[in-house]
Structure formats: structure tokens, C-alpha cells
């Protein structure tokens, strides 16, 4: 019986880890949409770019530098995309930004396919991070525990930035009433650029963390994007903690479904979403946004 509980604990921990990894992607999606009204369908492609940059830079400079550099580069790419393209869609019908980012995602995926081919690239966990933590009957790989730590720090820093700094106050005000922020003489343009950089950089970080344990191939972004959207919808727009709760919930539910009935592991996300939307149409902690009602 004790052993069974240990195995269940392993599964729940594993689900939480998957949740944190969904969160890295979903949080960026949520804040970009909340602030700019842009449904960024290219977010998964940015996750893929993070993984490809990780592989490429590791080959040139080694793992450590690539680990720092790749997510930052993805963040910079995000800011450039925001400045060049996304800013034109903030006041437009959300359908337009959706179409634009859909096209952008396809261009990025095809570009990766043309440059690197459709096959997954070879990339594995660095030797120093291999091995497993074993405590009695409990066992878990060091790399995943490291992922959990890195992702948690990144998310905590994002939370600090959004909740405990003047920058975060402007972001929050911008989410609830952008016109009033502008009326007070505060320009939202640099804030939006920074938010896109952070959100997309987090997706890049997820790609960097996943590259050694998942296939690095052009369509990897598509695979993760749907789950990230489900997390955003379940969590509710405009709520940091809503997205956090949703991501962890999705991770655990998906993990446990995979364990008990793997054939339904993909369907479990949508069943969960359906159930939550029936009970709370704005998601777990969604806030009312007049411009979206």
C-alpha cells in the first residue's frame, strides 16, 4: 500500500511538472492576449524556435551558454515581431491578428523544415544532468527536477515583475483600461513590446527545457499550442493565478489519465475544459473585460 502511494505521488509530481511546462507557454499567450488582444497562434512556433536555437547554439558554444542565450534570443525575436507586426493589430478585429499569427506560424514551421528537414534533430540531456534522485521507493530524474526549478524561478520572476513593480502596475492598468492609461500620459507601446518579449521568451524557455527530452522537429510547436490554449481558456483571461491553477490542473489530470487510461490522455484536456466552462464560462478565475464582452 505504501508503495502504491509512492507511485501515485510520483505521478502527481510528474503531472505538476508537466503543468509548469504548460504554464511557461500558456502564461505568455494569456498576457499577450489580455494586454494587446492578440491571439498569438505563432506562440508554438516560438517554442520550436527556442528548441532549435538551443540545439544550434549548443553545437557552437556548449550547453551552458546556449541555455541562457536561446530563451533571450527568442524574447528578442518576440519583441521584433511585436514592433514590426503585432502592434498594428491591437485595435483591430482579433480575427485579423489570429489570421496573421496563423500565417506566421506556418511560415516559421516551413522555414524550419526547409533549413533543418522534417526529421527530429539529435539532442540529449547533458551528461552532468543525467541520473535520478532515488529516495526509498521514490525515483525521479534530476533533469526533470532541474526543469521544475528553472521553470518555477522564471515564473516567480514574471509574477514579481507583473505584481510588484511599477511596470507591472502599468501592465495591469493596461489590461483593464488601456484608454485611461493613455489618458494619463503613459505610453503603452514600450510596455506591450516588453510584454511580448517576456511572453514569447517564456515559450522559448519551454522549448529550451523540452529539447533534450522531446523530439526537436518543425511541428513541435503545433503539438504544444493546443494544450496551452486549453490552459488559457480554463484559467480565464487576465488572471495570473487562474492560468497557474489551470496549468497545474491540466498537467495532473493529463498525467493521471495517461497512467490509468492512456488512450484518453489527449481527450482528458477537452473534457476538463468542457466541464469547467459549463460551471464557469469565464474560466477558473477569468475577469470581465469590457472590450471582449
Amino acid at each position: 500500500m505504501a508503495i502504491e502511494i509512492v507511485f501515485l505521488f510520483e505521478q502527481i509530481l510528474n503531472g505538476l511538472l508537466m503543468g509548469v511546462y504548460y504554464l511557461l507557454i500558456a502564461l505568455g499567450l494569456s498576457i499577450i492576449f489580455s494586454l494587446g488582444g492578440v491571439v498569438n497562434l505563432a506562440h508554438g512556433a516560438m517554442f520550436a524556435i527556442g528548441a532549435y536555437l538551443m540545439v544550434q547554439i549548443t553545437e557552437l558554444t556548449g550547453y551552458g551558454f546556449a541555455f541562457i542565450c536561446a530563451p533571450l534570443l527568442v524574447g528578442v525575436i518576440g519583441m521584433v515581431i511585436e514592433r514590426l507586426f503585432l502592434r498594428h493589430f491591437y485595435k483591430a478585429d482579433p480575427v485579423l491578428s489570429l489570421l496573421f499569427t496563423f500565417g506566421l506560424a506556418m511560415i516559421i514551421e516551413q522555414a524550419l523544415r526547409m533549413i533543418y528537414g522534417a526529421s527530429p534533430l539529435q539532442f540529449n540531456i547533458p551528461d552532468f544532468a543525467r541520473g535520478q534522485l532515488i529516495l526509498g521507493d521514490f525515483m525521479y530524474p534530476y533533469y526533470r527536477l532541474g526543469m521544475l526549478a528553472v521553470a518555477s524561478v522564471a515564473l516567480f520572476l514574471t509574477w514579481l515583475l507583473l505584481n510588484k513593480t511599477p511596470f507591472g502596475k502599468v501592465v495591469k492598468a493596461g489590461v483593464s483600461d488601456p484608454d485611461m492609461v493613455r489618458a494619463l500620459g503613459i505610453s503603452l507601446a514600450p510596455v506591450l513590446t516588453a510584454v511580448c518579449g517576456i511572453g514569447i521568451g517564456l515559450a522559448g524557455l519551454a522549448g529550451v527545457l523540452l529539447a533534450p527530452i522531446s523530439g526537436v522537429h518543425p511541428a513541435m510547436g503545433q503539438e504544444i499550442l493546443t494544450a496551452a490554449f486549453v490552459v488559457v481558456v480554463i484559467g480565464g483571461l487576465g488572471s495570473f493565478w487562474g492560468v497557474v491553477a489551470a496549468a497545474l490542473l491540466v498537467g495532473v489530470i493529463r498525467g493521471l489519465t495517461t497512467y490509468f487510461y492512456p488512450a484518453a490522455s489527449e481527450a482528458s484536456l477537452y473534457i476538463l475544459m468542457l466541464a469547467i466552462l459549463l460551471l464557469r464560462p469565464r474560466g477558473l478565475m477569468g475577469e470581465r473585460m469590457d472590450r471582449l464582452e
Partner: protein, 417 residues
Amino acid sequence: MIDKKKLPDQAKRRLVVGTVATVAASMYAPAFVRANSHTIKIGHLTPRTGFLGPMGEYAMMGATLAMEEVNASGGALGRPFEILFEDSVNPKTASSKAQRMVERDNVDFLVGEISSSSGLAISQVATRAQKMFLQTGCNSDELRGKNCSRYMFHLEANNSMYVNTIGREMLRQNMVKGKRWMAFTADYAFGHDLFEKTKRFMDANGAIFVSNDLVPTDATEFSSLILKIRQQKPDLVMSNLAGNSTTNFMKQYKEFNLPIPLAGADLNAVSIWGAGEGSFQGVWPIIWTHQVNAPSAKVFTESFTKRWGRPPDNQAVGDYLAIKILARAMQETKTIDTQKLIAYLESGVKFDVLRQREGYFRPWDHQLLFEMYTVQPVTGKPKNKWDVMQTSAPVPGPNESLEVLAPTAEQNACTFS
């Protein structure tokens, strides 16, 4: 010149939608070269995106190389080959694209496919249109059995051939008798069929079945399943996964480093290369690798590597051979008449199939028989990133019939209507 400022919102939206749709359509449009009546047109369908996409890319490279070689030597019957490539994303798309190729583009032959479900859909179109379909990557035994068609020829091994190939090696390594085994199976036609054949073999040879979990084809995360393996403590884990799933599973299995042997009944070189030196493990069957020790295999590997900058995988071989076999059949029969070509392929004529022994089609189910191999990680440091595996001697051995791996007519009856 359109003045966008003067357009009403709806028109602007239409403009954007139209532009995006045009860009999207052009990105996914087939590599399409208008044919003239002189050329021999081949419709090539295979998944280029999705979890089988990496193999589809090699399929296309193999077919292209074969076409270039055929055309460089004057074509078949003095007519050049021309291939229309299409991405067959799923069975429905495969069926509609095959229909379009047959009706609108007037292709003479259909070649390709990897997914057994899509292969069945294309075969139905080919049978109705009475066009030959040389399928190059579908494994399901049912395509050669209850769903067989006299218009469909199989250049891919069937699941029984895979299971019997790996089964012999597993018996040799004492991995079967009395061993408790767990299976993970891709949740579509190929996986279900492969699991059934695997289980039949394991049951017949005294293995003890623990469980089989069906895994969605788009699954990327296997940690929950690997923790389950750890809990169940089987003696053997058998993978019936496909495409990118196999790569991900191997990487994550290595990450958890369970001391339980891994084997599988189907593998592509793309999955081995994707997993790489650090993660490729276990023992697997494969129809061909670039390490095959045969003169024609070496020439092909050299030409392919020169053309595409990387060695060929097993999938490239199937599509390469399909085009080459078509060319030879036309040359020998001096016709492109479908019925005469079918009779020629059914005649037991032997082909160089880039292995030590020649191969031939069985007349009653149209399965191409050829030598198979098993692969496992190379001992020591690989000399490059492509040689992370070592390829066995051919299976069956030189003194055995090629028939021994494939199911008999009683085991997998096929009736051509």
C-alpha cells in the same frame, strides 16, 4: 493599385483573409510540374507533416532520386517520368488527393504512403480507377489480407515480417520464454495490427503478457507511462509506437534509465537518428539501413548522400525501389498497360532490392519479399551521428527461403476480386 484606405472594413478583412489563404495555399501546394502527354505521370502521396512527416520527407527524396536516375538514362519506353508530390495528411485527404490525381491529373500510377489507414483509402481509389498503386510504407497485414487488391503492391514489409524478424533475435537473446512483458501501442490501424501480431508471437513462445496501453499518435510525453512501467516491473517492454512517438519514447526511457530491456516490432532510421547516441537503445527490426553490406546498397547510399547531403533511411529505399521497379517493368513489357504490368510483377521476376539477395513479389498477395535486419546500439563510440546503430546480418539467413518471415495464405488470406 488597391487603395486600402478607401476599403470598408469588411473588404479589408476579405483582403487580409484572401492574402493569408493565398500564402497558406502556396506553402502547402504540391510540388507540381505541369505534365505533357509524353511524360509518364506518377502520383506520389505520403504524409509530409504530422508524426509520420519525417519519413515522408525521405520517401520524397528516394522517389525524386529514382526519377532523376530513370530520366538521366532516357526514361522508360523513351518517355521521362514525372512525379506529382502531395502531402497525405490523413486517410480522408489521401483519398481525395488520390482521386484528384487519377481524375484531373490523369496519373498513370500511384506510389507512396506510410499510414496503413491512408494506404487503404488510396488503394480503394486505385482499384476503382484500375491504376496500379505501389505502396511503400504501410505495414498492416490486413492490407495484404482481407483488404488486399490486385492493383496494390507492397514494397514495405508487413507487420508479421517485422515481428518474426525481431522475434528470432529476441529468442536468440532469451528475451521471450517466461518473461513478463508490457506493450505500448500507437492507437491506429498499424499499431493495433502490430500489437496483435506481437502478442501472437509472444504467446506462442511462452511469454507472459502484462498489459498493453494504447497511445494517441500525437502523444509527446511518456513519463507517466514510464513511471507505470517502473511500478509494474516487467521483464521486457515492447514498443509498437510509430514515427516521432518512438523517438520521444526512447529519449524519455533513457532519461528514467529503467533497468528493463526495451524492444520493438517496428523502427525507422529517422527515429534512431532523432534519439541519437545518448538515447537509442533496445533491439528492433528494420527493413534496411545505410549500413547494409551489398554492392547495390552501397552505390545507392553514395548517390543518395551526394544528392541530399545525408544517408538514406529505410523509407527512402521503398520509394526509390518503387520508381525503379516501375521503370524496369515498363521497359521489359514495353507497355504501360496496367493489366500487363500486373501480370509481369506477379510472374515472380526478381529485382535488385539493394540487399544481398534479390527480391520478388508473391503473386497471391503482392508482398515484395526481401531480406530484413535487426538493429541495436553500436558498441563503443559511433564514428558519426548516422552510425549510432549496428545492423545485423540479413534475416532470414542465406540458406532459408525469404518466405519464412511472411504469413502464409492460410494465415492472411487474400482474394483478388
